[in-house]
């Protein structure tokens, strides 16, 4: 902990990450504070003859519209960005939690199970790791009924296709931990496998899995953005950063701010999570910290 407190990269990353999470959590309040919502069209503030570019400089940034307007519709960009944070972060966090849960379950089962269980589960993990996530996710998302809650669905699909890494790390760590004396002692004293997994193995997994999860989070954000970019993410009018970037591809010259704002936020958020993950790894893995110091 002390190491973390001295780690400047970690501190900066954590501050930005916390800020983003706070923004996402308080999106309705922030939008209300700005006096805007993410669905109202402001057609009078667009230059229709030029394709619907916002009037005014910097994509229509003004006292009323803090980050300007969405070209083509005139929806308030600030409101859309903060609500978009909800989707982007929510889906990424949800998917990461699910991935960690599935990964822990499968990984410890493989690590503690017999040769057959381990063999089958490990092959399964290999299979999942080999799946082309985007391709399968696109087809899955395209066939499910449209009235299913999209963010939940996105998180589930991403997690179902992406838990392989966590499972593999968990299994590796479990295999090391199960040979430790205290695990042997627990077994000799008559503890069952479930108890051993819960009481003896799980605490030892915290550090590596936490670090891995912190790295998974930005990856999942990218996947969500990618899926939304490709048009199989959340449904309009719900905003997401990936979706904004997708529509921005036709506007990047006419209204650069529309690319810069969601793109910049996505970049910042990803960077902050990577900084946090690196900090955690240095702090939790003594060998790593020695190498780096």
């Amino acid at each position: 902990m002390r190491a973390l407190r001295r780690d400047r990269g970690f501190l900066v990353g954590a501050a930005i990450a916390l800020l983003m999470i706070l923004v996402a959590a308080t999106a309705p309040l922030l939008a209300a504070a700005a006096g805007q919502d993410y669905t109202t069209y402001h057609d009078n503030l667009l230059d229709s003859a030029r394709g619907g570019v916002p009037l005014g400089r910097l994509g229509g940034i003004s006292g009323d519209h803090w980050l300007g307007l969405e070209p083509g519709t005139g929806r308030d960009l600030f409101a859309r960005v903060v609500y978009g944070a909800q989707v982007s972060l929510g889906v990424a966090v949800g998917a990461t939690i699910l991935e960690v849960l599935i990964g822990l379950l499968v990984g410890t089962a493989a690590g503690l199970g017999g040769r057959w269980a381990d063999g089958i589960l490990t092959r399964l993990v290999d299979l999942v790791l080999a799946l082309p996530i985007l391709v399968i996710a696109i087809s899955l998302l395209a066939i499910v009924p449209q009235d299913w809650p999209r963010p939940l669905l996105l998180a589930t699909v991403i997690a179902v296709l992406g838990w392989g890494g966590t499972a593999r790390i968990t299994r590796g760590e479990t295999l090391t931990l199960r040979t430790r004396d205290y695990v042997a002692a627990a077994r000799l004293s008559g503890a069952g496998w479930f108890r051993i997994a819960r009481r003896e193995i799980l605490p030892g997994l915290t550090a590596p899995v936490l670090t891995y999860a912190a790295l998974l989070l930005p990856t999942n954000m990218v996947v969500e953005a990618g899926l939304s970019f490709l048009g199989v993410g959340v449904r309009p009018p719900t905003p997401s950063w990936g979706q904004m970037l997708s529509t921005a591809t036709t506007w990047f010259r006419a209204d650069p701010m529309y690319v810069i704002i969601p793109g910049g936020l996505l970049f910042l958020t990803l960077l902050s999570f990577v900084l946090v993950a690196n900090g955690l790894r240095r702090a939790l893995d003594p060998r790593q910290s020695e190498v780096l110091r």
Partner: protein, 563 residues
């Protein structure tokens, strides 16, 4: 008709639907002389098209853009800017046809100086055979009119199965062809511009394989053709400009590349590097990137053509389903719609204009302005609420179907704009996205037709008939699929008026009555007209005479020059 457009884009070479028009190039136009414009290679950069090259399978408006380089038809579009261009002109025939028997019989005489690419003279039998082929189930895709119009031809299966041919088409001699129709059709000279009226020599017909190298009657012939990818055209030496004053045929060679992204095409036309300076497009209208550079006095302003293809974007109600069986509800929503949002969703006021009439604002179609449910530019939610309250309807939730692709003009962006406008009037809209590839199948089958859907309708030819009949003629409700009368509206009086106008051969009289009919039907709010199409297309900096014609709103490849 919309029928045309959907099929066209995929199945022809970009001809029909909407190529953007020219208007630009004023400086070049002044000096342009069709007698000295010959030479050079024109590059055509397109998104889609060239899926088929068989004249039987092409669905074109006015003969199309690329197809009309290869195929001459009995008549063709007049290829002039403005109103003059919305008329047919003789092509293979010596005139627009002679009607008799109250416009139920049309007689054409062919020119003497017209030849196929192998030097064989074109005869009336070749034209007849070309039309008969288009009835073959092996060669689907063409416009449906001939089957409806020709006497006793509805069940004809094409010359492969029924070599005896269509009795309603007579060829008393090599130069004369006579069409017998089941009812009067004053618009026949317009229909005769379709590629189904192109001659096909029976001896060279290879059935479905014919399109690998269709025998040309126009100024160019096929050098190489790879469907959906590329098409190279070279001069047809047996074509003579003396027999064809409408096509200038300036470039020596035309190279078409399809399968490109619209943004890429426009970027290449703007930068004009190398051969791209001699490039044009027939299916990639300008995007926001270029719109922002237009009208600023920059160099791009000289490389743009502005025209209008008659087409309407609209919201269609299924009046067989609640709540749209209630006219008051339809009226209320007509008041609620915000056309400014819709126009912006479609790309802004440069490429679409808002519409309160079903007929787009072209005189040739009989356009008469009306606004039965004045909503202003941005909608009148208060009035809409009031009408709903009078009708005793509250907490209204409706479903609106739209395509999943914005390229169609009835995709998610327009749907979201409508949703937001209706929300202001207290109406909740649930959006249903339908895959673009099956959108027409789902909405065009009364059994699966949604209660409300976004639609687009373009003119097969500039006249009120093809614009209004499929939408409002009660006898055109097709239960098997391919239905466009989405309101499922059937009023004997309207049907009778349609028949009466069809019998007119005087276009200006017909126009006035089509316009009046549109105004009358508009009062029922069977549709909410949203916007009409404008066509803004770029062309390379060396391209001259890119002038849009009044028929298709786009510049004509047969008349542009790269010399």
């Amino acid at each position: 008709m919309r029928r045309a457009l959907t099929l066209v884009l995929p199945s022809l070479l970009l001809l029909a639907a909407c190529d953007g028009g020219g208007g630009g190039g004023t400086s070049a136009t002044g000096a342009f002389d069709p007698a000295t414009c010959q030479g050079g290679t024109l590059t055509v950069l397109n998104q889609g098209g060239i899926t088929h090259l068989d004249p039987a399978r092409l669905y074109t408006s006015g003969g199309g853009n690329i197809p009309s380089l290869l195929f001459r038809t009995l008549t063709t579009r007049n290829r002039q800017p403005g109103e003059a261009g919305a008329k047919p002109a003789p092509d293979l025939a010596t005139d627009l046809g002679t009607p008799s028997d109250g416009a139920k019989t049309w007689t054409y005489r062919l020119r003497d100086d017209v030849f196929f690419e192998d030097g064989t003279p074109i005869t009336s039998a070749d034209v007849k055979y070309g039309i008969e082929r288009s009835f073959a189930p092996e060669l689907p895709g063409g416009a449906p009119y001939l089957r409806d119009w020709l006497q006793d031809a509805a069940s004809y299966q094409g010359p492969y199965k029924q070599p005896e041919g269509i009795k309603a088409i007579e060829t008393p001699d090599d130069r004369t062809i006579v069409f017998k129709l089941s009812k009067p059709e004053g618009d026949f000279p317009f229909l005769a511009t379709a590629t189904q009226f192109a001659p096909v020599p029976k001896a060279k017909d290879k059935g479905v394989g014919y399109e690998a190298h269709p025998i040309s009657s126009g100024p160019y012939q096929v050098e190489s053709y790879e469907p959906k990818k590329s098409l190279v055209l070279v001069r047809n030496t047996h074509w003579s400009s003396k027999s064809d004053t409408l096509r200038y045929a300036c470039p020596d060679r035309i190279e078409v590349t399809a399968g490109l992204d619209a943004a890429v095409i426009n970027q290449r036309l703007v930068s004009g590097a190398g051969q791209d300076a001699n490039a044009a497009t027939t299916d990639a209208p300008v995007g926001p990137e270029q719109l922002a550079q237009l009208g600023t006095g920059g160099p791009l302003d000289k490389q743009v053509a502005r025209g209008e293809f008659p087409a309407t974007y609209y919201l269609a109600f299924n009046t067989k389903k609640a709540p749209f069986d209630n006219q008051k509800v339809r009226e209320a929503l007509s008041y609620a719609v915000n056309r400014t949002s819709v126009v912006n969703a479609l790309g802004g006021s440069t490429i679409v204009g808002s519409s309160t009439t079903f007929l787009p604002p072209q005189k040739a179609l009989g356009y008469q302005p009306y606004d039965h449910f004045p909503a202003g530019d941005t909608g009148d939610p208060a009035k809409a609420k009031q009408v709903l309250a009078e009708a005793g309807v509250s907490n209204l939730t409706i479903e609106l179907a739209h395509s999943n692709s914005d390229d169609s003009g009835y995709g998610p962006k327009v749907a979201a704009a409508v949703q937001e406008a209706f929300k202001q009037a207290g109406v909740t809209v649930k959006l249903t996205a339908i895959d673009d590839a099956t959108y027409r199948d789902v909405t065009g089958k009364p059994a699966t037709e949604p209660s409300a859907s976004l639609q687009y309708w373009g003119a097969d030819w500039p006249s009120g008939g093809p614009f209004l009949i499929p939408i409002f003629d009660g006898r055109q409700i097709i239960t098997a699929g391919g239905n466009f009368n989405l309101a499922q509206y059937n009023d004997p009086q309207v049907n009778a008026e349609i028949d009466a106008i069809n019998a007119l051969t005087d276009q200006s009289t017909a126009q006035a009555r089509w316009g009046a009919l549109d105004t009358t039907i508009g009062k029922l709010a069977l549709t909410i007209p949203l916007a009409h199409e404008k066509d803004v297309f770029l062309f390379g900096k060396n391209v001259k005479n890119a002038v849009p014609d009044g028929w298709r709103g786009t510049y004509d490849l047969a008349r542009i020059s790269v010399k």
